[in-house]
């Protein structure tokens, strides 16, 4: 849609963005792992701090706001359900009608919300600082395999096109009387007029694409030569191993109760 192709654009600038995609991937995965694996306050708060520092370095405040908005429903839900419905909690803080807010529940809710926030933001940072093509290209160079790269890359490209198509189908079915706001029975009947054309349309050109790929030696053996090399350094490699193994070790120790963090 008018975007300049990635290979024409300038390489990413910025201390964090210019890191190798694999490094950024390891950081994102490790952050998520520690945020969920180390229970209590320290895990989520520490990872949230890491993510916020990254956001500060890369200047992504405005873009992050949208991800924050997307996460709001589940954050509210976690807080509300844990505060009011925490099983076997007796330290009631306040009563609202039949519902009692408990201190234990509130703490669990806040911790849960921090965990989800750290996770969601770390994914957001990865997604905003790493163009998909770069990530896939780097992974292919490390041995991911042409077919996997094709599947992931094509899937990511197809999603926006299919969303636009779905909107068209919804509009045209509404014009034919599909009810999207009526009773549940009506809405369930709306599933097939929506799913059917979309799926059948998408499956329509599978045959042609298969022929096209085979004609272009997609199934030839041997690795492709990836021309676009993304910079990597020994320091980054060391950092990846340290962060990766370190976070696994930290979570293992925390789960085994060897290390007790608040």
């Amino acid at each position: 849609m008018g975007r300049i192709p990635a290979y024409v654009a300038r390489p990413p600038v910025g201390a964090y963005r210019s890191l190798n995609p694999a490094t950024k991937l390891v950081v994102a995965l490790s952050t998520a792992l520690v945020a969920f694996g180390v229970r209590g306050w320290s895990g989520p708060l520490a990872m949230l701090a890491v993510v916020l520092v990254t956001v500060a370095i890369t200047g992504l405040w405005r873009s992050i706001r949208r991800y924050l908005l997307l996460s709001t429903p589940i954050l509210v839900s976690v807080l509300a359900i844990n505060t009011f419905f925490f099983p076997n909690a007796t330290d009631v803080l306040v009563r609202l009608g039949p519902f009692a807010a408990t201190g234990t529940g509130l703490i669990a809710g806040v911790q849960g919300a921090l965990r989800i926030l750290a996770f969601a933001l770390s994914v957001a940072v990865l997604s905003l600082t790493t163009p998909t093509d770069d990530l896939l290209s780097d992974l292919e160079r490390r041995g991911l395999g042409r077919r996997a790269v094709f599947v992931i890359g094509t899937a990511i490209q197809t999603v926006p096109r299919m969303i636009a198509r779905a909107a068209e189908i919804v509009e045209s079915q509404r014009a034919r009387g599909m009810d999207t706001e009526g009773s549940w029975a009506r809405r369930i009947r709306g599933v097939l007029p929506l799913a059917g054309p979309m799926v059948l349309g998408a499956l329509g050109d599978v045959e042609e694409r298969t022929m096209a790929l085979e004609a272009r030696a997609f199934t030839a053996s041997g690795r492709r030569t990836v021309i676009r090399e993304l910079p990597d350094s020994r320091a980054q490699r060391a950092a990846r191993w340290t962060i990766g193994l370190g976070s696994i070790a930290l979570v293992a120790l925390a789960l085994a109760d060897v290390v007790n963090l608040p």
């Binding site: 839900s77 099983p87 809710g109 989800i116 994914v123 969303i163 369930i188 799913a195 599978v206 694409r209």
Partner: protein, 270 residues
């Protein structure tokens, strides 16, 4: 290069992944139903290409949806495990030829209706009497409401399955319903620990009300997640199963037969 990852399957997988993501997103935001409908692509690939491609489609769908800029889901990533299991089961159904059309009439047709309705009734009853919904409905004010809903949904489901078999004169409806319900139950069991441990059983959508109701009834986090799952997943996967069946019967035999497991779908077609 043939086998389960033939070029055709490799071309189908991203389409299936996109279908999962887009349908899941559209159904939740446009139709606003408490079902997910994000496994149609996974089951399609599983039935046509086998368990491993199906499992990979499911896993990649969740991972890509989590990471996708714009519609990135808040919590969908870790449920890749569930999606993988769904894909594996779909491969099993593919091997068993569950989604093959079985035109029937007379006694054969009614036998299928009885089997289909019977199994749905048994499953609904098993879920209804499961201890996670609380042994004592009077302990929490909302427990009884959940019971009532399950019975109502069970009746509607049984009628729907029976009607489908009769209207289309296709005994396969019974198998499709059973496959869907079983997939849903397994999906709920696999999802519950993930939801409970990572997200306190909460998903940020309308089904959280069920979680709240169960917790109000005194259930702990894990059982509340399991209770919510056993409520939503069988319904969702059964509907998905029927949608996949209708799609597969709409495709031409020529297209279907070229997939690794395609022959099991077209055997009885002339």
């Amino acid at each position: 290069m043939g086998g389960m990852f033939s070029t055709r399957v490799i071309v189908l997988m991203p389409v299936a992944i996109a279908i999962n993501i887009v349908l899941g997103y559209t159904v939740q935001s446009v139709l606003k139903l408490p079902i997910y409908l994000d496994s149609i692509g996974t089951i399609l690939v599983g039935v046509l290409a086998g368990p491993i491609p199906g499992a990979l489609t499911g896993i990649l769908s969740n991972v890509i949806w989590q990471y996708a800029p714009g519609i990135g889901g808040g919590t969908i990533g870790p449920f890749a495990v569930t999606a993988g299991v769904i894909g594996l089961m779909a491969g099993l159904w593919g091997y068993l030829g569950v989604y093959r059309s079985r035109p029937a009439s007379g006694i054969g047709l009614w036998a299928a209706v009885v089997v289909g309705v019977g199994i749905i009734a048994v499953l609904a009853w098993r879920i209804y009497t499961s201890p996670i919904y609380g042994n004592d409905p009077s302990a929490g004010g909302y427990g009884a409401g959940v019971y009532g809903l399950i019975i109502a949904i069970g009746i509607v489901a049984a009628l729907g399955v029976g009607g489908f078999i009769l209207v289309r004169r296709d005994a396969a409806g019974a198998w499709v319903a059973i496959a869907g319900a079983l997939t849903g139950i397994v999906a709920a069991i696999v999802s519950a620990p993930i939801a409970a441990y990572l997200f306190e059983g909460v998903t940020g959508s309308g089904v959280d009300l069920i979680v709240a109701a169960l917790r109000q009834g005194g259930q702990d986090v894990y059982n509340a997640s399991l209770g919510q799952g056993l409520f939503s997943d069988p319904i969702d996967k059964t509907i998905t199963s029927f949608v996949v069946f209708i799609i597969l019967t709409s495709l031409s035999s020529r297209v279907v037969a070229r997939f690794p497991l395609g022959e099991r779908l077209v055997e009885s077609r002339a």
